[in-house]
């Protein structure tokens, strides 16, 4: 019934009204509960609504979500409804759970490690956006996903407690075990997977040996970036796995310059964050409009100082000065989405075998 309701009615808001009426009495209590919880008040629904699935931090108080919503709503007579999920992987899993019944019109916040899986769901349509002008290293030619920002991973270190940081991944692997690094778990975290892929691009078949050598240097493997970075800023270890852009935050927001990213001679692994539209969406035209808006300055201007990533398109405001002090990786390392999808499970098992004993 819900799926038909969706087609007949054309919008999500019709759907909700019909069903609320249908469920009737049982729901009254819940609605009453919700009314007492006015802080989460229901959103106004008068105009065309574009439902965008994204990760939580994109639309949080400090994320770019609110400003991007305002900027886009000025260009159309429409509303953006954000649906915020834990992170990019959670967004993908939501799509897997919902399948063709998904309420999303646009999905924003997947990265190239999971776009192959997302593509295989058969939900995404062609974006028809000219993405040739994107500033993503290595260029862009994906027909279904538009990049909105990118960032190179890097080992970030505290220059006060670590005056001589490693200059290559190999130096990190073979360095003094007394100087520890905090990593993220590739099973539960995107940067964690990034470091695993970095090790794999550099060491290939010998990655397992390299992991075993690195193991005594690992203070701990945190479930996510937040936990790892919090332990690092507490001073638990002089190094953490993060992004090249991390030092910019400390300079811009805290005026602290002791945190630096180490430049590695083998090159740096890249994360590219993308958006795509749902082919079956009733708001496909609006969704396409949003995807071209992504590469416009109105969107891109917000990215550097809210998402702390590098913009994928042209900006009209200059990058903050702090970004000019950042490491600019000479070489970019990146597996194709298909390679990651085909090997991820085997590579994670290999990692687990090497460090999980």
């Amino acid at each position: 019934m819900p799926a038909e309701g969706l087609k007949a009615c054309g919008t999500n808001r019709c759907l909700s009204i019909i069903q609320l009426l249908a469920i009737g009495g049982m729901m009254k209590k819940l609605i009453a509960t919700a009314l007492t919880l006015l802080p989460f008040a229901a959103y106004a629904q008068a105009k065309e609504t574009l439902t965008i699935y994204t990760y939580e931090s994109f639309v949080s108080e400090w994320g770019p979500g609110a400003k991007i919503k305002t900027a886009f709503e000025k260009t159309c007579d429409c509303d953006i409804t954000w649906v915020a999920l834990g992170d990019g992987v959670a967004v993908l899993n939501r799509l897997k759970l919902e399948g063709k019944d998904t309420k999303a019109d646009v999905v924003l916040g997947l990265d190239t490690n999971i776009t192959d899986e997302a593509r295989n769901l058969g939900l995404f349509g062609k974006h028809n956006v000219d993405a040739s002008k994107t500033k993503v290293p290595g260029g862009w030619s994906d027909a279904e996903f538009v990049p909105f920002d990118y960032g190179h991973f890097a080992v970030v270190y505290n220059s006060e407690t670590m005056p001589n940081p490693p200059k290559s991944l190999d130096e990190l692997v073979n360095g003094d075990p007394a100087q520890k690094i905090i990593l993220e778990d590739p099973r539960t975290s995107t940067p964690g997977l990034g470091f695993l892929l970095w090790m794999k691009t550099v060491y290939g078949d010998k990655a397992e040996v390299a992991w075993k050598k690195l193991k005594p240097r690992i203070l701990t493997t945190a479930p996510g970036w937040s936990e790892a970075y919090a332990l690092f800023t507490k001073g638990e270890a002089p190094m953490v796995f993060s992004y090249v852009t991390s030092p910019a935050y400390h300079i811009v927001a805290e005026n602290v310059t002791k945190y630096k990213a180490a430049e590695f001679s083998e090159g740096h692994y890249l994360q590219i964050e993308v958006a795509g539209l749902i082919e079956a969406s009733p708001e496909k035209v609006l969704a396409q409009k949003f995807l071209s808006f992504i590469l416009s300055p109105d969107f891109q201007n917000e990215i550097p100082t809210t998402n702390w990533m590098m913009p994928a398109g042209e900006m009209t405001t200059p990058l903050p000065e702090a970004f000019n002090t950042l490491v600019k990786p000479a070489k970019t390392l990146l597996y194709s989405p298909a390679e990651v999808n085909a090997n991820r499970k085997a590579w994670i098992d290999e990692w687990l075998g090497a460090v999980g004993e």
């Binding site: 019934m1 819900p2 799926a3 759907l15 909700s16 069903q19 609320l20 469920i23 729901m27 819940l30 609605i31 509960t33 919700a34 007492t36 919880l37 802080p39 989460f40 008040a41 959103y43 939580e56 931090s57 949080s60 108080e61 400090w62 954000w82 649906v83 915020a84 999920l85 959670a90 899993n93 939501r94 759970l97 019944d101 309420k103 520890k180 778990d185 099973r187 539960t188 690992i218 203070l219 701990t220 493997t221 945190a222 479930p223 937040s226 936990e227 970075y229 919090a230 332990l231 507490k234 001073g235 638990e236 270890a237 400390h250 927001a253 702390w308 994670i348 460090v355 999980g356 004993e357």
Partner: protein, 542 residues
């Protein structure tokens, strides 16, 4: 025979110390508490029949079990319609072994220390004691990562006691789990001790019980009755621990919960997640039920040795060291949390109101469900209570999402967050209410039968006033657990609902670790205020 005589008689005839009718209840003051026993049996049975037949005793298990099924069935359906295969590998057994090992050690230390601490706190007086006792509610409300950070600032590589103790590994996991669960165990055991009738202590005093005898014959029976349940609860909490285990243990410290999370999140392998959950459910259920059976096989008190009592010095020499150890574990990380966060206080009114609103609603809901379960202690109520804790919340939340996703309503999202919170806290609510009910039912069933007092009026006149303190404590535990929840709000909330823990998480995700510390102080303060209020409400009649 008067109450005293009956008690002594019971003791000497090797029967468990059972309360007589001489309770502090005002109602009973002028009544003969001992009607002829023949009549008593009949009417008391009639009373029990009324409770068993009433909707109250069946509604609650039905609601809870259907809520759990509402989570499991859609997920099973999803697994069967999306073909995927799962094989048991040696990795799973390794994971299972580590899960059981760390959970067993964590809960063993927490319950043993908690038992001693609860007893010590009941027997000692020291400056700032009530403050310390109120602090015991705080760890439960703290998101796991806040606790990990608070502990690292004391025991970490760069902590105050830096290098003295390696917190990265099993020892760190145990330390964090004890910090989390020792206060919980202490509070639950404290509730057990409070339910010992005063007459027992007075009798012990009259008989010049030694310290050891007092413990053995009066305190231990009460503690022992609740020990398996408290151990079981903490065991399950530790078995399901996730952030602490991963952050401090690393990849070699993988628990079943981590494997379930991985299979749901990274691989989206629903059959594997369900198989792992089933394994976890079976193993936990067996262990917890075994613990329950163990207690039944060793009935309350071996009071026949009572003649061996010698007059002894009553100085609680062991109590002060126990309190000192408890203080040393619990106080420093909390102090570190306050010192670190006080300079970065930030008020997010929306998060504060959302947290309080969700917490209050979940508390009311959970108390309503827990009351009949605690009132009628039978197999059904015990299984229901366990089921709510053993089935991983992530599994329930995913199933609920599948079942309810077609209903596009904010009310439903908020409702399901509240319901999941109530469900997760339920075993703790029941654990707090059960000892009080066990006591009260025995004390008042006969009296109420004699007075033909039942239904609403019994609830209003007898149960409610007598249950004031345990109810306040149960409400507090539920509220505090809901306050600290991150699972329900992350898995079910996608409509921009921000609570204090999700705010902390979001601040940390934006390099704002300092602000997160400030928010944690607000959460802790709110929790302290609630504890204070609950304590005032609970003791208002005393």
């Amino acid at each position: 025979m008067n109450g005293w005589g009956r008690l002594v008689n019971e003791v000497l005839n090797n029967r468990p110390l059972r309360p007589s009718g001489t309770s502090p209840s005002k109602l009973e003051g002028g009544l003969n508490p001992h009607p002829p026993s023949a009549m008593l049996g009949e009417v008391a049975n009639g009373r029990r029949v009324w409770w068993d037949r009433s909707c109250l005793s069946y509604c609650s298990p039905v609601v809870i079990l259907s809520a759990i099924l509402l989570g499991l069935v859609p997920l099973l359906h999803f697994a069967f319609t999306h073909d995927a295969t799962f094989t048991f590998d040696t990795y799973i057994w390794k994971v299972l072994w580590f899960t059981l090992k760390q959970a067993f050690l964590s809960s063993l230390i927490s319950t043993m220390l908690g038992l001693l601490l609860a007893r010590a706190l009941a027997r000692t007086e020291f400056y700032g004691k009530s403050f310390f006792v109120n602090l015991l509610a705080l760890p439960q409300a703290m998101p796991a990562i806040v606790v990990v950070l608070a502990i690292t600032s004391i025991f970490g590589a760069n902590g105050v006691l830096g290098g003295w103790f390696n917190i990265y590994g099993l020892s760190g996991i145990l330390l964090a789990h004890v910090f989390f669960n020792l206060p919980l165990a202490t509070r639950l055991f404290g509730a057990s001790l409070q339910n010992i009738p005063h007459e027992n202590f007075r009798l012990a005093e009259q008989l010049s019980f030694s310290n050891a005898a007092l413990f053995r014959h009066i305190e231990w029976p009460a503690l022992q009755r609740d020990l398996p349940r408290i151990f079981g609860l903490i065991f399950l909490l530790c078995a399901a621990s996730f952030v602490i285990v991963l952050t401090l243990g690393g990849p070699s410290a993988t628990t079943l919960e981590v494997a379930i999370y991985q299979s749901l999140r990274q691989d989206f392998d629903v059959p594997r997640a369900l198989t792992l959950s089933t394994l976890q459910i079976i193993v936990c259920a067996i262990l917890v039920m075994a613990a329950g059976k163990l207690a039944l096989h060793h009935p309350a008190a071996n009071t026949y040795k009572i003649e061996k009592i010698r007059k002894q010095n009553q100085t609680p020499w062991l109590d002060y060291p126990v309190v000192a150890i408890g203080l040393a574990i619990i106080a420093p990380p909390l102090m570190a949390l306050f010192v670190g966060g006080i300079a970065h206080l930030n008020f997010n009114v929306q998060a504060l109101i959302s947290s309080i609103a969700i917490g209050s609603a979940a508390t009311v809901f959970s108390l309503a469900l827990a009351w009949p379960l605690a009132r009628v202690q039978n197999n059904i109520s015990q299984i229901t209570t366990l089921a709510a804790l053993i089935v991983p919340p992530a599994v329930i939340a995913t199933g609920w999402f599948l079942a309810l996703r077609h209903f596009d309503s904010v009310a439903l999202v908020v409702g399901s967050i509240i319901a999941l919170n109530a469900l997760m806290a339920l075993p703790f609510t029941v654990a707090t209410l059960t000892p009080a009910f066990a006591q009260m039912t025995k004390q008042h069933d006969q009296l109420c039968a004699q007075l033909n007092l039942n239904g609403w009026w019994r609830f209003r006149i007898v149960d409610l006033p007598m249950m004031r303190r345990p109810l306040a404590q149960a409400a507090l535990i539920t509220f505090v657990m809901a306050l600290g929840d991150l699972t329900a709000v992350t898995l079910l909330g996608s409509q921009g609902i921000v609570t204090l823990p999700s705010l902390i998480h979001s601040q940390m995700g934006h390099y704002r670790g300092n602000d997160a510390g400030g928010t944690a102080v607000i959460l802790a303060t709110l929790c302290y205020i609630l504890t204070y209020v609950a304590q005032k409400i609970g003791t208002a009649n005393d």
